[in-house]
């Protein structure tokens, strides 16, 4: 439990230890989807000022993991996601997604932002078909003879995907502004899935939704993940959402408020693959939420010492039973 604070060397060391322990199976299963190598990000503010947002972040995300990035507002979790996308280059360090270094935004990863996730000038069906159609034929490829037949198959696939996301076939001809926020995000996820990319980056994708819609979209995302096991990086500030969706939680935290001090990884922890919820896990869930949030507030030392004073052993025992993977907890 105490090894929650991660240093890069420790991570690499323990990862290789696991690989050795599990033998060849681990070697094939644990292909690295995203590798973040000692990345820092510094912005220039004004004429001379500099503000470091991220500092020496190193992460290794395996194929099929659902990683949730947590942290307080302004801790740089969205910046990290933008760097994974290729939207912003890191000041130092390197990022590799799907085996190749990231230099610009491309179709390696799917993207679902919080807002403006759909093209407002296209109907739902056109939004869904846009990815495959653009990828096959850019501007002039549309004039090629095979394009009509290709478009037909893409449309059929889009309709299937649409129904899979819980929308009606009659929604296909609607424009995004005619759909509710939850529906729009469903279409946005479908749009990203149409590209069949193995990495899905989601930036506060459900944060603008009301709680009921949010819960149904969380269930949807979980079922999508368990079907095809893409690698998901999900940015949120909601710890309960993180525990429900994630197989691994990463908490970013800035140690001091000074501009020279960027956020580091404060906690990197694996979760059971089944997903946790208050409904299913009750007290343990609440304790874990409290535990994780103490890291993002930065008062985890105090909490753990309090725990040791009162019922620390009980807490430890509980968490070990909840986490059969506790040995792997980083």
């Amino acid at each position: 439990m105490v090894s929650g604070v991660m240093t890069p060397e420790l991570h690499v060391a323990s990862a290789s230890a696991v690989e050795v322990a599990n033998g060849a199976r681990a070697l094939t299963a644990a292909a690295t989807a995203i590798r973040v190598d000692d990345v820092s990000m510094t912005y220039t503010v004004g004429r001379k000022g500099k503000r470091t947002v991220l500092q020496n972040i190193s992460l290794e995300i395996e194929e099929g993991e659902c990683v949730v990035l947590l942290g307080e507002t302004g801790c740089g979790k969205s910046t990290l996601l933008r760097m994974l996308l290729g939207q912003e280059p890191p000041t130092s360090g390197s990022i590799t997604v799907a085996g190749k270094p990231v230099e610009r935004v491309d179709s390696r990863s799917g993207y679902v932002p919080q807002r403006y996730s759909l093209f407002p000038d296209r109907t739902v069906l056109e939004n869904l078909c846009m990815g495959p159609e653009t990828s096959k034929a850019h501007i002039f490829g549309r004039l090629m003879p095979g394009f009509r037949a290709f478009r037909k198959t893409v449309r059929a696939e889009a309709m299937r995907q649409l129904e899979h996301m819980g929308l009606h076939a009659s929604d296909a001809a609607k424009y995004p502004h005619q759909l509710s926020g939850g529906m729009q995000q469903r279409v946005a996820i479908a749009q990203a899935l149409m590209m069949k990319s193995r990495v899905l980056l989601m930036d506060e994708a459900f944060s603008a939704l009301d709680p009921a819609t949010r819960a149904s979209l969380q269930r949807l995302l979980r079922s999508v993940w368990s079907e095809t096991k893409p690698t998901i990086v999900f940015v949120t500030h909601n710890t309960a959402e993180a525990l429900f969706l994630g197989t691994r939680v990463i908490v970013l935290r800035r140690e001091s408020r000074e501009d020279s001090c960027g956020s580091r990884v404060a906690l990197d922890m694996k979760l059971p693959a089944a997903g946790m919820s208050l409904h299913r896990n009750g007290k343990e869930f609440l304790d874990l939420v409290e535990y994780i949030e103490s890291f993002s507030r930065g008062d985890h030392q105090k909490v753990s010492s309090d725990g040791d004073d009162r019922d620390g052993s009980a807490f430890e025992a509980e968490t070990t039973t909840v986490f059969p993977l506790d040995g792997e907890t980083l």
Partner: protein, 286 residues
């Protein structure tokens, strides 16, 4: 009982009253005009400053069915009305003004494309933006003498005046629209394997098109203004040329119909652009 106080924000007048109120100023203006006209004609039956209805009718007849003074065309005695209309003064002037207007409109299309690139591609922005900002501040009419020297006093100097007057504003406006397209949309398009041209012409330009048309609608008036300035100073035909010529011998009976005709033309262009915009972009939320 409807509240009839004009200073009541929460008043709820019914439709009929609203319609009546909106026609009121037109009726008052026409009434004042008629009254002035009748009074002046009472004093001097030959008055040309405020023409009477018969004079106006004669003026309209002359401009719609008779050739311009400077034309050599003499209609045959048995020429049909359509034949006379085709060679009339107002048709000749409208065609020559309209030609200049449409050519400059067409020349604005490359300006919009340039603006799309300036807003989207950092290198284009770096190269052009500062120059356009500077150029926008030059008063186009002050360039008119230079344009006359460079292009001569023929068609192209007038067209160049319109384009130089309107294009920089239009470019800056469209650049702002391009920059206002959410970054998410562009990133999303790239994750859908779009290339640079797809993003520029199939994502961004489609999204800003309704705003571009609206901006064009606002710029119709300045375009007309520059056209009229050019025509009044140096032209041998055109709507503004006719108005300027008629002023010399107090031809108010022709000037007034011309002014209203230009207003109607502008209204029709604006209306058709607005209708086109609504039809073509049902998704656009004003």
């Amino acid at each position: 009982m409807a509240n009839l106080s004009p200073f009541e924000i929460q008043a709820r007048p019914n439709r009929l009253l609203m319609q009546a109120a909106s026609c009121m100023l037109f009726v008052i203006c026409m009434g004042l005009y008629m009254q002035t006209s009748v009074r002046r004609h009472h004093e001097n039956p030959e008055d040309r400053v405020v023409p009477s209805l018969t004079q106006l009718a004669a003026g309209i007849h002359a401009s719609v069915l008779e050739p311009a003074e400077e034309d050599d065309y003499i209609p045959a005695d048995n020429a049909s009305k359509w034949e006379r209309f085709k060679h009339s003064m107002i048709v000749k002037d409208t065609i020559s003004s309209g030609r200049r207007f449409l050519i400059s409109l067409a020349l604005l299309i490359p300006a919009v494309v340039l603006a799309l690139h300036i807003g989207l591609y950092p290198w284009f922005g770096a190269f052009f933006m500062r120059f356009v900002l500077f150029f926008d501040k030059i008063v186009a009419l002050s360039l008119l003498p230079i344009l006359f020297i460079v292009f001569g006093i023929e068609e192209w100097s007038k067209i160049a005046l319109i384009v130089i007057g309107v294009a920089p504003t239009m470019i800056l406006d469209v650049t702002q629209m391009v920059k206002a397209v959410p970054q998410e949309q562009i990133v999303k398009a790239f994750t859908l394997d779009a290339n640079n041209f797809d993003v520029a012409y199939r994502v961004v330009s489609r999204q800003i098109m309704p705003q571009v048309i609206n901006s064009l609608r606002l710029n119709l008036k300045p375009m007309m203004l520059f056209l009229f300035a050019g025509e009044m100073i140096a032209a041998s035909d055109g709507l503004a040329y006719r108005i300027a010529i008629m002023r010399r011998h107090m031809g108010m009976d022709v000037i007034l119909p011309y002014v209203l005709w230009v207003a109607l033309l502008l209204f029709l262009i604006d209306f058709s652009l607005r209708t086109l915009n609504r039809r073509m972009h049902p998704w656009f939320q004003a």
